[in-house]
Amino acid sequence: MKRRLIVACGSGVATSQTIASKIASLLEDDGIDFPVEAVDYKSIQNELPSTGIYVYVAQPDDEVLEKADELGVKVFPGIPFLTGMGADQIYEDIKALVE
């Protein structure tokens, strides 16, 4: 798996930055060093090949999901990190992948 986690939202600013920093701080608290980055959904096709984990905010279309699947990129929903609901389980799944 590529050592990079991306979070993609509509503009690559507000929401994805918020979720990216949340995930980054959770990883840091667990002493895990793993690059986390917020990106613009519009450039997602270019970002996927260099990515191991893709956390989505903007709903990915089928084409993007197929490409992620093809490349072996693991895909997770990002909204739980915003609302707090269900975030623990998703974080545990991500953690298990990066540890």
């Binding site: 939202c9 509509g10 503009s11 600013v13 507000a14 929401t15 930055q17 918020t18 920093s21 949340k22 959904y41 989505y56 905010v57 903007a58 709903q59 929903p77 990002g78 909204i79 915003l82 609302t83 707090g84 609901m85």
Partner: protein, 152 residues
């Protein structure tokens, strides 16, 4: 930037009319433009962005929506608190499922780097049951303003 400065008592409306998301956006955009917080591309910007990237969120204690536009339409950074007379349907961030919402918070982000913490601070507030209960029960603009600026 101190997010407190983005709140303004003028930017709190507790009886917003509109039978649909579009109408609510029209009313809020007109108000914001009159007050000089956005330019005339804002309504189009926010409507287009919401269609492509919806902002409804079902949080533990309250359904909310956080409509925002690209920074080019913002003149002065703001948070506009809109409580509707009647619920409208919006789509959820992430999976675009429909949901009902009565409380919308329009985020006027002009400098994405400087204001990225706003969303985080906002979400932290809405995870606190005590805060959400106080917000929902309050019907006085001045008190709502204080509630946000004292807690965010």
């Amino acid at each position: 930037m101190d997010y407190k400065e983005m709140f303004d008592q003028q930017l709190i409306s507790l009886e917003v009319d509109g039978e649909s998301e579009e109408k609510v956006f029209e009313n809020v955009a007109a108000h914001l433009q009159t007050l000089g917080f956005v330019n005339d591309g804002y309504l189009k910007g926010i409507t287009a962005r919401e269609k492509q990237f919806p902002t409804g969120l079902i949080t533990q204690h309250l359904n909310i929506a956080l409509p925002h536009s690209d920074p080019e339409y913002i003149e002065k950074p703001f948070v506009y608190i809109a409580r509707l007379k009647n619920e409208v349907k919006v789509k959820q961030m992430g999976d675009s499922q429909e949901m009902d919402v009565k409380n919308l918070f329009f985020l006027g982000i002009k400098d994405p780097k400087g204001q990225v913490g706003l969303l985080q601070a906002f979400m932290e507030l809405f995870m606190k049951e005590e805060f959400v209960t106080a917000f929902m029960q309050e019907e006085d603009k001045m008190k709502i303003y204080q509630l946000f600026t004292q807690n965010i």
